[in-house]
Symmetry: C2
Subunit: 237 residues, 2 copies
């Protein structure tokens, strides 16, 4: 019998691990000894916080990086073939969602090996739940273009798209949050609703949703501070 490929979410904030993962998920993670991880350093910190019964030295922690090399996948997954469980971890949140991991999962399916996703923090879902915008239909875009003109065009396209009632979700690297926020205020219609979810699950968590016109009129100190904090944007025209 083959091993199981676990998809193990990791915390998205500095809150205690007991705020991020169910106790039974922690127990499963404590039994796994083979980890395929986006980033070795953050994975080691996570496994320490998890209270893994083995020392880091006794565990196999293999870094797959942000763009896993397809040629290495079959070696990485080899333990599964001999009945040994493997867990995939991204740097924060759910592996394979806005993060690497999908190519490993696809390979496991091709081989008929068991794949088991585990419950944990998914910033996209937390942001959507807390946005007050339509959660019956939604679309996740990842990152928008960086160049001003291309970004403006993307914003206008997704605002148009959302007129059907479909919530549009996207993210940005923290140091570019302010600039994306300004672009949204510049290019969206006054009545379009925008939700900002900042530092989800963390000590500075803040979720705020209102119309573009209200965001424009708001004093800077009434807004959640965006700079250098993880943020998820939800938009609905």
């Amino acid at each position: 019998m083959s091993g199981t490929l676990y998809l193990l979410p990791t915390p998205i904030s500095s809150a205690p691990i007991q705020f991020a993962l169910p106790a039974d998920v922690i127990r499963i993670a404590q039994r796994v000894e083979h980890f395929l991880v986006e980033d070795a350093k953050s994975a080691r910190a996570f496994l320490k916080k998890l209270g893994h019964p083995k020392t880091l030295r006794e565990l196999s922690i293999v870094e797959i990086g942000p763009a896993p090399d397809a040629a290495k996948i079959s070696d990485w997954l080899a333990p599964l073939k001999s009945g040994v469980d493997v867990a995939v971890l991204s740097e924060a949140g759910c592996p394979a969602i806005a993060d690497p991991g999908a190519s490993l999962v696809a390979a496991a399916h091709r081989n008929g090996w068991k794949v088991q996703p585990l419950v944990g923090p998914a910033s996209i879902v937390l942001a959507l739940m807390a946005s007050g915008l339509n959660g019956q239909r939604f679309r996740f875009h990842g990152y928008l273009p960086i160049a001003a003109e291309a970004r403006a065009a993307a914003i206008e396209a997704l605002e148009r798209e959302s007129k059907s009632g479909e919530t549009q979700i996207f993210i940005e690297t923290p140091y570019r949050n302010e600039s994306l926020f300004s672009a949204l205020l510049d290019h969206c219609a006054p009545a379009t609703r925008l939700s900002l979810s900042i530092d989800l699950s963390g000590g500075d968590e803040r979720v705020q949703q209102c119309a573009i016109a209200e965001w424009r009129a708001m004093r800077d100190d009434a807004r959640p501070p965006l700079a250098k904090r993880p943020a998820v944007f939800c938009l609905l025209a």
Copy 2:
């Protein structure tokens, strides 16, 4: 100071609650005494499993139904105004995602009350993580049309859409799963990939992903049994 509107996910399977919710989330839920719930019966069963320190009789459990009445929202949220916390619960999974709750959250934002989403099971995210399909960009459609012709047109449209690399996610009521599955085999191209996630987090959990051509060639007993089980479909052309 106002109370907090918690968005409290509930288990999506009969597995123990410790497999679904982080210990700190369980602790928060045990402190709340006002619950706005999609379905009172399942909410009571959940609160018992949760080991809430108060008896069900001492708690306020108000049923908001699958389509909350807008005229009642301000009464429902009144405790928040006086500093009392309120939690929104759907029948299973995350409130406000493919489930009621968003209109309550929107009202809380209009009043400037604190909204806090909590970590728990989201079948859409678990299914996508385990699908091995693209998790960098995806779209959730909810339910497809039921009538054969409209459903075929919807399937063809989302298969076309997914050629851009965007994974398409949709659900069906359990007793119609088999019929949706047949329609997908009938209307999609042989190379299109389809993932079925059945009874996520439950004892009969099974996730399987392959090309439409492989699904077509598969013996019935090699496929996960779909009838009457909760399922999430992910598709990528």
